[in-house]
Amino acid sequence: MTADILTVTDLKKHFVIGRTGVVTQVPITVKAVDGISFAMPEGETFGLVGESGSGKSTVAYTVIGMYAPTAGTIRFRGQDLYESKKKRPLSLRKEIQIVFQDPGSSLNARRTVKQILELPLRIHRSEARRLEEIVRLLDMVELPPEYMYKYPQMLGGGEKQMVAVARALATEPSFIILDEPTSALDVSIQGKIINLLIRLQNEFHLSYLFITHDLSLMRNVASRVAIMYLGKICEIAETVEFFRNPLHPYTQMLLSSIPVVSEAEEKLKPQKIISTGEIPSPVDIPPGCSFHSRCPMKSEACTQLDPVMVEVAPGHTVRCHLSP
């Protein structure tokens, strides 16, 4: 598995949010990520989909180094990211970058675009001609050079996100986490950013971990898709296979809930399943299969036994008792 740029094995991230019992002090934990595994080959766009509270952003933050995992390993080009307890070396930080959801809060409002882009250059690269480099970065995201003297609030939402992308590119990374990069933006602007990201990927041979809740968008950008529900992955498949043959009841529920704009898309939606129930609190995850409380096809086994990931077709794995 040396060709994989990122390998996540049995990753867990639990947060202690309080304690119960006066004497016993039993910790109350939120199992934000509870044992997920996936591998990403170099140059891939891996889509991570889930509703709010499913733990998809926690995965991203654990990979980037904002949280240390509770258990499990994350390997980047074979190197364990959390092997030593020391700070992550600069050479490794340079390789993994992130673009956040809301550029309004991820860009410092009191810094000019020039200052924002200069910081990663100063830290990671000892280039003398920084100004030229900033112009080049802005050019890569199709912004004119005079934008470097603007403050974020002078830019539109789309332009701000372009600056955030430029900042991520400044360190010349090979792996970028895109955490809902367009969900704060209008659909009319979304396309431009997505196409820019795809172009940059081809140009610089980047690998993307693309996080979103928008399955229609995922269909068009990701090469493989994983669905998360309450900290666990329910289904992973190649994008085309995934949309042609969704197997997990939750995947089907998600697909059937999407509002679509054409008849052709309507036909792709599973008709049998309709959305019911709500995502339970991650503090109080149902026993057995965590989805059983909402699943229209649940059986006795689902309430007691947590299913395991099973490969049903090459590259298509599902975690459901219905798919042996």
Binding site: K192, R219, V240, F243, S257, V260
Partner: protein, 341 residues
């Protein structure tokens, strides 16, 4: 158009906001017509004036800074803008109700659900007669049952923070429909919710309005929702209605370059990549572009678009588009089919 009576008619509505630095000319002659029982969609990007229009209907725009220099809004034949506060109170609640985008912000965190529902029902008396506390309570319970919430008695005693986002929006829907309004304005009712919950809430909303034959204006920027929920759609750009058509017609034959851009920008489940969308952004309302407000972003902009504001041209059955591209078609072609863009 259908023979049902006019419920709401907006004529040439202008709304300005006076701010430091000048006047934001947000609404620039908005027109809208809807009949009783119709479900109308209103789509456009953020900042197009959708919510401003709806707030003008309910007269909840903060004035100042907002001002309405021109325009009329007729609800069942009477101009809302000229009503006294007493008349207005009759219209709000019993006549028109509204559901907001973010249920967390719409509900007051320091009052229980019951207190808030009771207030709404209390302030819209039935035929001028005040309801007894018992009647109010019964109606509140019934409204919560209608929105498929279990154990309404307990729910009425809870505070909004104790409920999930989906439940809060159900409470808001129940509240809005509790007084039996003729017109329901739903401003992005599912946007702040997860997709599976959004689907549930919208399905519930559709069932309820169909049962009660409530007329609906649905504001959203998600075209898919409009397609599933409405009969007719208005497309709004920068304070103008640029296109209106029956929902089916609009989705199969969009005409205005803005509508086409919006449609193409939606990523499809069938794949095929994403289009670049529409270049540029919403204009600065301090100095909106002259002529057609869309011309700086329009791939088909012509000489005339820079100086003159396009009138509405009718193409085919009730399909109106405010774009000079269709000026000639008005005479030469009776229906909307057959012309390439």
């Amino acid at each position: 158009m259908s023979a049902t009576p006019l419920l709401l008619e907006i004529k040439n509505l202008h709304v300005h906001y006076t701010v430091y630095g000048g006047q934001l000319k947000v609404l620039d002659g908005v027109g809208l017509v809807m009949h009783t029982g119709e479900r109308v969609g209103l789509v456009g990007e953020t900042g197009c004036g959708k919510t401003t229009t709806m707030k003008a209907i309910l007269r909840v725009l903060p004035m100042p800074p907002a001002g309405i220099p021109q325009g009329e809004i007729y609800f069942k034949g009477r101009d809302i803008l000229k009503m006294s506060s007493g008349e207005l109170r009759q219209v709000r609640g019993r006549g028109i109700s509204m559901i907001f985008q973010d249920p967390t912000a719409a509900l007051n965190p320091v009052f229980s659900v019951g207190q808030q529902m009771d207030a709404v029902i209390h302030h819209s008396p039935l035929r001028g007669k005040a309801r007894s506390r018992r009647e109010i309570h019964q109606l509140a319970v019934k409204s919560l049952q209608e929105v498929a919430l279990a154990d309404p008695e307990r729910l009425l005693r809870s505070y909004p923070i104790q409920l999930s986002g989906g439940m809060r929006q159900r409470v808001c829907i129940g509240m809005a429909l509790s007084t039996g309004p003729e017109l329901l304005i739903a401003d992005e009712p599912g946007t702040s919710l997860d997709v599976t919950i959004q689907d549930q809430v919208l399905r519930l909303l559709r069932t309820l309005v169909e049962e009660k034959n409530t007329s609906v204006i649905l504001i959203t920027h998600t075209l898919g929702i409009v397609r599933e929920m409405t009969d007719r759609v208005y497309v709004m750009y920068a304070g103008n209605m640029v296109e209106v058509a029956a929902t089916k017609e609009l989705f199969s034959n969009p005409l205005h370059p803005y509508t086409i851009g919006l449609m193409e920008a939606v990523p499809r489940l069938t794949g095929g990549g994403v289009s670049d969308g529409i270049a540029g952004r919403i204009p600065n309302y301090l100095a909106p572009p002259p002529g057609c407000r869309f011309h700086p972003r329009c791939p088909h902009a012509m000489e005339i678009c820079l100086s003159e504001k396009p009138a509405s041209y009718t193409i085919g059955d009730d399909h109106e588009v405010a774009c000079f591209l269709y000026q000639a078609d008005r005479v030469s072609q009776g229906n909307g089919g057959g012309h390439d863009r």
